[in-house]
Symmetry: C2
Subunit: 311 residues, 2 copies
Amino acid sequence: MNADRPEVPRVVALAGGVGGARLVDGLDRVLPAGALTIVVNTGDDFSHWGLHISPDLDTVMYTLAGLAPEERGWGIEGDTFHVLEEAERRGADAWFRLGDRDLMTHLLRSRALAAGDSLTEATAKLCSRLEVTRPILPMTDASSPTTIVTRGGDEMAFQDWLVRARAGPEVQRVELGKAAQPTGQVIEALRLADLVVICPSNPYVSIGPILSVEGVRGILREKTTVGVSPILGGRAVKGPLSSMIAQLEGKPASAQQVATHYEAFLDGFVVHPGDAFSAAFPVLDTNILIQTREDRVGLARALLDFARSLR
Amino acid sequence: MNADRPEVPRVVALAGGVGGARLVDGLDRVLPAGALTIVVNTGDDFSHWGLHISPDLDTVMYTLAGLAPEERGWGIEGDTFHVLEEAERRGADAWFRLGDRDLMTHLLRSRALAAGDSLTEATAKLCSRLEVTRPILPMTDASSPTTIVTRGGDEMAFQDWLVRARAGPEVQRVELGKAAQPTGQVIEALRLADLVVICPSNPYVSIGPILSVEGVRGILREKTTVGVSPILGGRAVKGPLSSMIAQLEGKPASAQQVATHYEAFLDGFVVHPGDAFSAAFPVLDTNILIQTREDRVGLARALLDFARSLR
C-alpha cells in the first residue's frame, strides 16, 4: 500500500460468486468513494433462453444494490418465478432458476450486447439503473468459458455442471477458456491499485479464470496482494469447493491448500481462527464467516488493517 | 368452392389481430381437422427488449390455445406483469405491456430465430408447445414492417403509433413494408384453398400487408374469396379502424367502405344486420359481433354456408 496516502488506498477486489460478493459488500461499506474497483469472473457466463447470463457479475451487482437474498447465493430477494413456471408449462428449459425481476437484467444485458456494447459497458449501464456506483468490471469482454471435465470424460459448461447436474459428477479437470484479453479498465485499475484483494471465492473456477486473463498475474506480482480463505475448518462456506479440492488434489480441503494457488504473488492471507498455518507470507486469523452486514464490515476492516501492516 | 367435396372445404383465413383471431376460433371449431390454415399479418412485428414480438401471430395462437382473455385484445388471460414492473423500476421501456407468461413466447421465438429458424418454423414450434394444431403461417419470413406516417409528418413503427402513442397522432398515410416474398407454405395453402376468408381485421394495417405479399392478390382472384366486415353500424368493433378510415379516406367508416379494398377479388361479403349494401357481389347480413364462443361458431357456420352458395 502507498504509505503517502494510507487513508485512501485504491483497492481492487477479485471476486467470483457469493463469498466474493459479501466481502466486496464489506469493502464497499468501509472504503471511501472512488477507492474500490471490483473485477469479476465471467468464466461462468453462458447463454440461456437466448440471453447472456453472467452469474457472478449479477451476484456482485445485486449484493451491492442491496437486492441479494440473505440466505440464497443467487438472484433477487423476494423474486417471483412466473416466467420460469411458464417455461416448465411449455416444456422449455427450466433448470436454471431465473426470477422475474432477475430476468430484466439478462434482457437488458443481451439487448445492449446485441446493440454493440461491450460486456464492460453493458455492466456499467445495468449498475447505473440499480444505483450501484462502485465500478464492477468483467474480467474480460471476450468469451472465455470454463469447462468442467468429469471423471466420466464428459465436458460440461460450468453452469451445466454446477446447476443442472447439481455439482454431482466428479471433477477430473477444470479447463479455463482460452487466455482472454483483459480490458483497458481492468489493467488500469490493477496498475493503479495499492492493494489487490483475492476474495473468498473458488480458486479453480472463480479466481482462476481472472488470473488467466493475459497480464493479470504479472501485475499482481508487483502489488500488495492479500487473499481471504474460502475454506473454514476444512469446509467451503458455500458451494462445491471442498469436494472439488478433494477430487482435483486428492487432499482434504484446507485454507492452506487454497493459499498455494496464489503463493506466487501473495503478500498475506486471511483465515478463520483455528485455520492458521505458517508460510512465507503473514497469515491473519479473524472471523471470515460474513453472512451479516456487521461481519462483512468487520472482515473488511481487519483485512485493510492487515494489508496496511504488510508494507 | 369445389363442389366435388363440399363437406371438407380447404379454407385459408387471412387474419390480423383480435377480430381475425375470434373468427378463426369459430372456423377452428366448425371445420374438420386439416381443413383450416391461417395466414397472419406480420407487418406489426417489432423488436422490444431485444426480443422479436409478433403481436398478431400471438393473438391468433393464444386464441386457438384457449389462453386469450375474454375482453382484452392481447396477451394471456390472468397473466402477471412482474418483469414489466421491474422494467418500470429500472427505467427501461415499459410502454408495451408484456406479461410474464407471454414473455416466454417472445423468448422462445427470439432464440429460435437466432438459431436460424424461419419465423414460420419458430411459429410452428411455439404452437406445438401450446398444443395448437391448426397451421398458423406468418404471411412472410422476411421483415416487412408497416409504418404510420402522421399528419404531423412523423414516421412511426406501427406498435409505436398504436400502443406507445395510443393511436393518437392523425394518420396521413400507411406505408407497408417492401413487397415481401411469400413462403412456400403460404403459397401452397392459398393454391389448394377452396375458400379464402378475409377476417374482420383492419384493411390498412392487418389485411393490407398480407395482400401486399408477392403473388397473393393474383391467387385470390382465382379463388372464392369472402370477407367479413370489421365495421359494424359505422364503428370498428375493436381498434382504431373507424378513425383511420375517416382520416385516410375523408369519409365516415362503413362496411361498404371496407369492401371496396377487396372488390378486385371479392366473391361475397358479410356484414352486420343494418349494414347491408348493394354491390357486384352478394352481401350476407348476419351477426358479426363475436365475443362469445357461440357467436364465433355461429358466424363461422353462416359464413361457410354463404360461401358454399356462391358457386
